[in-house]
């Protein structure tokens, strides 16, 4: 068991910077998930920890040792790979005990550890199977057992569930959490699936373009995203963004105005800002009873409904002549709202909606940095909307 520290790790390929000045401090026993879109550098970051890729700059420490120049085998790590990577010419026992045999463990100890690891992943009695005779989930368990058996300081998991079917993925997710609870080892987990990141981790490190965007517990990333990228990446469906400017009495855009006191935020009139609101924080005007601070009503037209069973996603068009463009929900003239499945909203309806002020986010449009989470201090004149509706809070 050990903490993992990355200091200024940078990896450059010819003219591409895969990882850019990455600093991470992962304490002993923590489950940290590196999450980001494809090609954001999360896997490369993990490979530098594993020793499979040498960083161009920076240092990596595991425990008290600096391991930057050590080969993978001397780093005290174990890794589970996306493509599982069981050795196809060895049976389960040989696969699991591969690392132990290389380190000349005696036979009894090897047997004991293999049995133990097989028990943890619930694969007892299958030790003489060949990888080709097993299902994807079983292979992945064997791969996890192979990592467990060496009792490593740090577990690295590179999208270990990506190749499993949806049902198995959810199951293995809980299995991994159970294993982590039992062993209490440091885990670094790479995934592009933010559901995995949200459910399993102690902290999430959101990475984009090779840079660390935010590292915080899942709910902090969700409720208080540091910047536009994190806000848009964490959460499904993703946050609605409305671009606008700061006016004398708050936020001003073509269709959506929200009044607030910009004074304490060091914002000048005319500054470009982006308002963010999650689909579940938008309510039809009549159903906002539970919201203590709501904005003024905004007139919208229902474009498309997506019933999910437990909720309905409603695509709202803000402008009369807006083109429906489901591919680009950030187009600025549409909003996505999540409503109760009992709702009787239908496509083509005109609906007035309000936002929950406590859940509003304000970002600097140019830098993307978050300015404020929750805009609850209403000024005297509550905001007006572009479509003319005006109510008191």
């Amino acid at each position: 068991m050990a903490n993992v520290t990355l200091e200024g790790v940078t990896k450059r390929y010819d003219d591409v910077v895969a990882v850019d000045d990455m600093n991470l401090e992962i304490p002993d026993g923590e489950f940290v998930t590196l999450v980001g879109p494809s090609g954001c550098g999360k896997s490369t970051t993990m490979e530098t920890v594993a020793g499979l890729t040498m960083p161009t700059e920076g240092t990596i420490s595991i425990g008290d040792r600096e391991v930057t120049d050590l080969p993978p085998k001397d780093r005290g790590i174990a890794m589970v790979f996306q493509n599982i990577a069981l050795f196809p010419h060895m049976d389960v026992y040989d696969n699991i005990s591969f690392g132990l045999r290389l380190r000349n463990f005696d036979e009894d100890e090897t047997d004991r550890r293999v049995e133990n690891a097989a028990e943890i992943v619930q694969m007892q009695g299958m030790l003489d199977r060949m990888p080709s005779e097993m299902s994807g989930g079983q292979r992945q368990r064997v791969a996890i057992a192979r990592a467990l058996v060496r009792e490593p300081d740090v577990f690295l998991m590179d999208e270990p569930l990506a190749n499993l079917d949806a049902k198995l993925r959810v199951h293995m997710r809980t299995e991994l959490q159970r294993i982590h609870r039992e062993l209490d080892t440091t885990v670094i987990y790479v995934t592009h699936d933010q559901a995995e990141a949200m459910t399993m981790s102690d902290r999430i490190a959101v990475i984009d373009g090779g840079r660390l965007q935010q590292i915080d517990p899942p709910l902090v990333c969700y409720n208080e995203p540091d910047n536009l990228f994190v806000a848009g990446f964490i959460g499904s469906p993703s946050m609605n963004f409305v671009e606008g400017t700061v006016s004398s009495d708050g936020f001003d855009s073509e269709y959506v105005d929200v009044a607030f006191d910009a004074g304490p935020m060091a914002l000048g009139e005319g500054d470009a800002v982006t308002l963010g609101i999650r689909p579940e924080d938008i309510y039809p005007a009549g159903e906002a009873g539970s919201v203590s601070h709501s904005t003024a009503e905004i007139e919208t037209t229902v474009d498309v409904l997506e019933p999910m069973g437990d909720e309905i996603f409603v695509y709202l068009l803000l402008a009369e002549d807006a083109e429906s463009d489901l591919e680009d929900p950030e187009a600025g003239d549409q909003l996505q709202m999540s409503v109760d499945p009992a709702s009787d909203i239908e496509a083509g309806d005109s609906v007035s909606v309000v936002f929950d002020r406590e859940k509003l986010h304000l970002f600097d449009t140019d830098s993307g940095q978050a300015l404020e989470h929750g805009l609850v201090q209403p000024t005297q004149a509550e905001g007006t909307t572009g479509t003319g509706a005006e109510t008191d809070d």
Binding site: G51, P71, K73, I77, A85, L86, F87, L102, R146
Partner: protein, 310 residues
């Protein structure tokens, strides 16, 4: 009239050939099968007839050799024993075996390392290096025979030291042949090692092997058909090689004279015992024939999968 007749032509009044053609048009599989048999029989005859001819010669007594036709003139199987009485033919066989095995081992070890580098690592100049290796395999051996001969007989001084005397030793034959047959193995193994997924090598390295360890424990076992193909082809090439085998020893059995010297040994200044040479040839071919029969499945799968990849 003619047209009417043609339309009424049935299987009954046509000749057997016409009928066969008509059936084949209706059922093209028949044609393909027939073509398969024709071609197969052609190849079988052209490859197996020389062996049959050797057998005919071996069984024909020396004095009747000019009368041998498609059947042996007389029956004299003693030739197969005489060859071991006149010369220590088993020693020549042994010499060739040792040289071929040794060369194969050297080639496989070196070509594995090169194949790993070419197949699994990206580095500048890789393509040029591979072409260079390929070019070496097209070198005419005769072009470097003389300098090699001088080198191997201790006639070249390197930094004041005369070169080691390896004429009449397995090294004298094995060294140039390793170099000549290495490119083939390198290309076969490059293809195979390149096909092993990166993840497996990464997994092995994380589990505790070095790069070399991953090659030996994971990549080579998974490339078994390729390694077998490269090994068998190298063995056969060296075993049946003529040029260096003939010129890098003086032909004495105790001086590591290989098979070719053994076979030619039955030809003296005054007489050429064709029956003995034929018998020796047959016995010389046997080990290779057995090897190929045993390994043929792997060779075929090795050659074709290599071919598909390239």
């Amino acid at each position: 009239m003619a047209g009417a007749q043609a339309s009424e032509t049935s299987d009954d009044d046509a000749g057997p050939f016409t009928r066969w053609v008509q059936k084949s048009i209706r059922n093209p599989d028949r044609t393909y099968r027939a073509m398969f048999y024709v071609v197969t029989i052609f190849f079988l005859i052209t490859t197996l007839f020389p062996f049959y001819w050797l057998l005919v010669l071996a069984l024909t007594p020396t004095d009747l050799v000019d009368q041998a036709g498609l059947l042996p003139a007389g029956f004299n199987p003693e030739a197969f024993i005489t060859i071991f009485e006149q010369l220590p033919f088993h020693v020549y066989l042994f010499n060739s075996f040792v040289i071929a095995l040794g060369t194969t081992a050297v080639v496989l070890v070196l070509a594995s390392l090169v194949g790993y580098v070419f197949g699994r690592l990206e580095f500048p100049g890789r393509g040029i290096l591979m072409i260079l290796v390929l070019a070496i395999s097209y070198f005419p051996p005769a072009a470097f025979l003389l300098p090699l001969f001088r080198l191997f007989t201790g006639n070249v001084e390197i930094l004041g030291l005369s070169s080691p005397f390896v004429f009449n030793s397995p090294i004298g034959i094995g060294l140039p042949l390793s170099a000549l047959f290495m490119p083939l193995s390198i290309f076969i193994l490059t293809t195979f090692y390149g096909q092993i997924p990166d993840g497996l090598e990464d997994a092995a390295r994380v589990e505790g092997t070095t790069r070399l360890g991953a090659l030996v424990r994971v990549i080579i076992p998974l490339s078994a058909p390729g390694v077998a193909t490269a090994g068998v082809l190298t063995f056969i090439n060296v075993y049946s090689e003529f040029f260096f085998s003939y010129l890098m020893t003086d032909g004495q059995a105790q001086n590591w004279g290989p098979l070719v010297w053994g076979i030619l040994g039955y030809q003296t200044q005054y007489a050429a015992s064709y029956n003995l040479m034929a018998a020796a040839s047959i016995i010389g071919v046997l080990p290779v024939a057995i090897l190929v029969v045993i390994a043929q499945e792997r060779i075929v799968s090795g050659l074709t999968s290599g071919a598909l990849k390239e």
